[in-house]
């Protein structure tokens, strides 16, 4: 199991023990983490699983694909460390990953 820490907009932290191979979005949904809607279920079709990735992990979460990049371009409140959590696959190297959810996904 790999530890993922979700921080909501108010600063509340929730720690989840996630399985390698699932996405950061899936681990959030399965553990009822608020602030991640993931309407399309991970098809990179809706941009409602936006998160901010902790600086220490930016180089470990993998490269953005073109589709994700252009989806994020239209999300609200996008920052340098914005990612779609359905496109980040959990592995050992992400143990302790901290992601923060934005105020709104819409």
């Amino acid at each position: 199991m790999t530890k993922i820490i979700y921080v909501d907009n108010d600063g509340t932290e929730r720690v989840v023990e996630a399985s390698n191979g699932e996405s950061v979005m899936e681990a959030a949904v399965k553990n009822s983490i608020p602030g991640i809607d993931a309407d399309c279920g991970g098809a990179c079709a809706c941009a409602t699983c936006h998160v901010y990735v902790d600086a220490a992990f930016m180089d470990k979460v993998g490269e953005q694909q073109e589709m994700e990049k252009s989806m994020l371009d239209f999300a609200e409140n996008v920052r340098e460390n914005s990612r779609l959590s359905c496109q980040i696959t959990i592995s050992d190297s992400l143990d302790g990953l901290k992601v923060t959810t934005p105020e709104s996904q819409h």
Binding site: G41, A43, C44, A47, S70, D73
Partner: protein
């Protein structure tokens, strides 16, 4: 009707809408008894991958489920699976189960979804002829998805074309039969139909339009061929039927709840009985932005109506209704659709279909009502906002790829 005192809520149907209602009720603070009753053996799962990644074998079954079984225990949700509902007794506020027993309710959510239209030809019940709706359907289909086998797909809608893409990628020999003069005729414009036909033909799919299926031939109870009205015989090891769906409205109708091609609901997803709600494929809802009512067969609609239902039961403000949206994955193409394109009076194509990256915008009286975007998220996402804003748009600007969608949206929304 104020239902904030409700302490027994029953949800019929564990699809996307039912699952959303359960989640939104608990998330919204509902602490009373909550029961899901569904006719499928599985806990709620995602349907879209059934004709995409899951069918192709790129996704494990575990990842289809919205939540693990432990979530239902943690949330104190009773799940009664493999159990059809026999009837709804509104006078006594109780739901009769097919296997005996009943569930009393203060508020009832009908999320019974839809069922595939039955192929009205001889041979439709032969072994090897499949619908594509449930996990169980896909489990029957997948063992036959073997390179070199012959698949005939009846109906060139999204489900049929998605399955055709998967089957071709797995090396099957695929023929698609469509009664209309073009694929996707019911749901999109000729420019998109032509694009998808070209794409599928380039991948080796045989597409026959204006094809009238006469019957299916079999041998020893197993399908062997599709026979067209003109006598053409197409060999088949497996036949997939994707000719549309019908709303599962019978339970509601038999209980005296108003229906008309779907269970009629208001903006809060409430039916003609104030204690009863309907959400998802089975419901016919006000499409406020389009000034009409209708059924939407989509994930977005199921999620939205699940949320509307929970908010109405809990006495919370109605969540904002979003622009309807849809998606389809075929080969390496992502089609994203925003809005409803029926009744458009002008179409603007942005980009070149030959680049496999373009968008078709649909306008009515100078305002954007829908877009079909191929591998073009900016066009899709900007359009969701533009459609709901009702802003007037200059067609010349929309079609000009030298102006970014961000700038087009900003200009239109500022005007």
């Amino acid at each position: 009707m104020d239902l904030t005192g409700a302490s027994r809520i029953v949800v019929i149907g564990g699809g996307q809408a039912g699952a959303q209602a359960l989640q939104s009720l608990r998330q919204g603070g509902y602490a009373g008894a909550l029961t899901l009753v569904g006719d499928e053996p599985a806990l709620p799962y995602q349907r879209p991958p059934l004709s995409k990644a899951y069918m192709k074998g790129e996704m494990t079954e575990e990842r289809l489920y919205f939540r693990p079984a432990s979530w239902y225990q943690d949330q104190d949700i009773e799940t009664i699976l493999s159990t059809p509902v026999k009837s709804i007794d509104r006078a006594n506020r109780t739901v009769e189960l097919a296997h005996g027993g009943h569930l009393d309710y203060d508020a009832l959510v009908i999320a019974t979804g839809s069922r595939p239209r039955v192929l009205p030809v001889k041979g439709a019940t032969l072994q090897g002829v499949h619908d594509l709706r449930d996990l169980a359907d896909v489990e029957r289909i997948r063992p036959n998805m073997i390179a070199g086998r012959k698949m005939v797909i009846v109906g060139a809608g999204y489900i049929g074309l998605e399955a055709a893409a998967v089957a071709r990628q797995l090396g099957l020999d695929v023929t698609v039969l469509e009664m209309a003069p073009r694929v996707l005729a019911r749901v999109t414009s000729p420019v998109m139909s032509e694009f998808f036909e070209t794409e599928h033909r380039a991948h080796g799919v045989q597409i026959l339009t204006e094809a009238r299926l006469d019957h299916l031939d079999g041998d020893g109870g197993k399908v062997t061929a599709a026979i067209l009205a003109d006598g053409t015989r197409i060999e088949a090891d497996i036949v997939l039927v994707g000719i549309g769906i019908l709303p599962n409205e019978e339970l509601a109708r038999e209980a005296g709840i108003a229906c008309n091609n779907g269970i009629l609901v208001d903006r809060d997803a409430r039916t003609s009985d104030p204690r009863v709600f309907a959400a998802g494929d089975c419901a016919s809802r006000p499409l406020v932005h389009y000034g009409r009512t209708g059924r939407l067969e989509s994930v977005h609609n199921a999620i939205e109506q699940g949320k509307l239902t929970a908010a109405a039961i809990l006495g919370k403000p109605r969540p904002a209704e979003d622009c309807p949206w849809f998606w389809s994955d075929q080969y390496d193409l992502k089609l994203q659709i925003a809005g409803l394109s029926q009744d458009y009076d002008e179409i603007v194509v942005r980009g070149d279909p030959n680049d496999r990256k373009f968008a078709a915008f649909y306008l009515r009286n100078g305002t954007l009502i829908a877009v079909d975007a191929i591998n073009s998220p900016p066009e899709f996402l900007a359009s969701k906002k533009l459609i709901m804003s009702g802003a007037k748009l200059a067609p010349g600007m929309l079609g000009d790829t030298s102006i970014s969608m961000k700038d087009i949206a900003a200009a239109a929304l500022a005007a």
